[in-house]
């Protein structure tokens, strides 16, 4: 049981700073070895979690949700009203999406998602977050200089567009619904899903379907 003793945790961190191996791989190896040695985890379960987030759960889920919303106005309505229920229709409900909100890009609004305090992310629908999302540069700048950040991603935002940054400070998670590209009227849901990039669902991509 934890005592929720922050002072003790700080001391442990200082101790570990000088007593753990200097390489990340060796530190994590030491952690797994101890946990297995003590009978606290089963390494095959770790294998299964890695497989789940490598093969099964990833941004293709989000892309499917967006493509369906583009194709089916009723689904789109349900998604905007109650995203967890709508994504559960596709079996995608899971970690960090129980209180998901979908925020919609329009001609005059662009949405961008960040977590400045840690790296909150809607795992079950987007998979593991990209490295830049978890890095200090993005976390520090997205709220203060979103247009500069977007420019680094190659996204130019016109003056007529309002940028709305969502800082994930609570247990709500945000998924950006990008705009459906022009000229895709005849496309199937599968074809549409191919157009939806992971970055567009975080907000660091805007105009889809261009080469």
């Amino acid at each position: 049981m934890t005592d929720f003793d922050a002072g003790k945790i700080a001391e442990i961190h200082e101790h570990l700073h000088s007593h753990l191996p200097s390489e990340s791989a060796l530190r994590v190896k030491a952690l797994e070895t101890l946990l297995v040695d003590k009978g606290l985890v089963n390494p095959q379960t770790i294998d299964a979690w890695v497989e789940a987030y490598t093969e099964e759960i990833g941004p293709k889920r989000g892309a499917r949700v967006v493509a369906r919303a583009w194709s089916d106005p009723e689904y789109r309505k349900r998604l905007l009203e109650d995203a967890p229920a709508a994504i559960d229709e596709l079996g995608y409900l899971g970690k960090a999406t129980a209180h998901l909100k979908v925020v919609e890009n329009t001609d005059t609004v662009h949405n961008l998602v960040v977590c400045t305090l840690c790296s909150c992310y809607p795992f079950s629908i987007l998979g593991i977050a990209p490295a830049w999302y978890k890095a200090a540069a993005y976390r520090s700048r997205a709220v203060r200089d979103p247009r500069g950040v977007l420019a680094e991603f190659g996204v130019e935002i016109g003056d007529e567009v309002e940028v709305r940054v969502w800082d994930s400070t609570a247990e709500l998670r945000y998924l950006v619904m990008p705009q459906r590209p022009a000229g895709t009227e005849g496309m199937s849901e599968d074809e549409l899903a191919e157009l939806v990039t992971r970055n567009s669902m975080i907000g660091t991509d805007r105009v889809l379907g261009r080469e």
Binding site: M1, T2, F4, D5, A6, I9, I12, H13, E14, H15, L16, H17, H19, S24, A25, V28, K29, L31, L34, L35, K38, L40, V41, N42, Q44, T45, I46, A48, W49, V50, A52, Y53, T54, I57, G58, L93, G94, K95, A98, T116, L117, S124, I128, P130, W132, A135, A136, S140, R141, R144, V149, E152, F153, E162, V163, V165, D167, T169, A170, E171
Partner: protein, 221 residues
């Protein structure tokens, strides 16, 4: 706490590494750590306590080590504090001679089982409370000008600033107390701030920043 983790608006962190190949894990140990964090949680732990333990990592390590390495560091600290392992065992790289600590390992879970657990882990943090919400959508609110030494989810950049309630989120577990093991619900709102209220560079901008904030962070403007 006003820790190194509170990065919003801080300057000097350089350009963003925008190129990413889309792989979930770039080194094997990253996947192992992800898996460990999914299946090895000490009893009584809360997400807010875990986050606070991560915030307490020495700043040089917080900034200097890869992301999932900071998860491993956080796990180590929670396991040691909760008595799952000792500093000596960690330094030595293996469990001690205390046989009692060596239990039967949990049964292996299959891919289907972890996918099911992932689905079942869709935990909501809102709940019913008696008190009525103090603020309503459209109301102007001002945020607290001080934080505190513990875990809190009102970032420094949004302290002492005036915004507008744009949504009511329900009563959510209050992180400042949850990080101390106390689960109470408190009304939580989405508050929108003009970028110009937050940043000196944003004068004249129409951009906005939206945060989910608990009632005790807010006062009537």
């Amino acid at each position: 706490m006003d820790g190194i983790h509170d990065l919003g608006g801080k300057q000097g962190y350089g350009p963003i590494e925008v190129n990413d190949d889309g792989d979930p894990f770039h080194e094997e140990w990253e996947g192992r750590e992800w898996g460990i964090a999914q299946c090895a949680r000490t009893p009584g732990i809360t997400i807010d306590w875990w986050r606070h333990c991560r915030e307490l990592i020495m700043p040089i390590d917080y900034l200097g080590r890869p992301y999932f390495d900071s998860w491993a560091q956080t796990d180590f600290s929670t396991y040691i504090e909760a008595g799952w392992m000792t500093l000596e065992e960690v330094a030595g790289g293996k469990g001690g001679t205390d046989d009692a600590a060596h239990g039967e390992p949990p049964a292996a879970m299959t891919l289907q089982q972890v996918l099911q657990e992932d689905h079942d882990h869709a935990h909501r943090f809102d709940g019913d409370i008696d008190a009525a919400p103090a603020f309503s959508v459209g109301q102007r609110v001002v945020t607290a000008s001080h934080g505190h030494a513990g875990h809190t989810r009102l970032p420094q950049y949004a302290r002492g600033r005036t915004g507008t309630v744009q949504a009511y989120n329900g009563a959510h577990v209050f992180p400042d107390l949850s990080a101390q093991g106390i689960e109470v619900h408190q009304h939580c709102y989405n508050v929108v701030f003009a970028a110009s209220e937050l940043w000196p560079e944003a004068s004249g901008s129409k951009d906005k920043v939206c945060l989910d904030l608990w009632e005790s962070y807010l006062s009537e403007a």
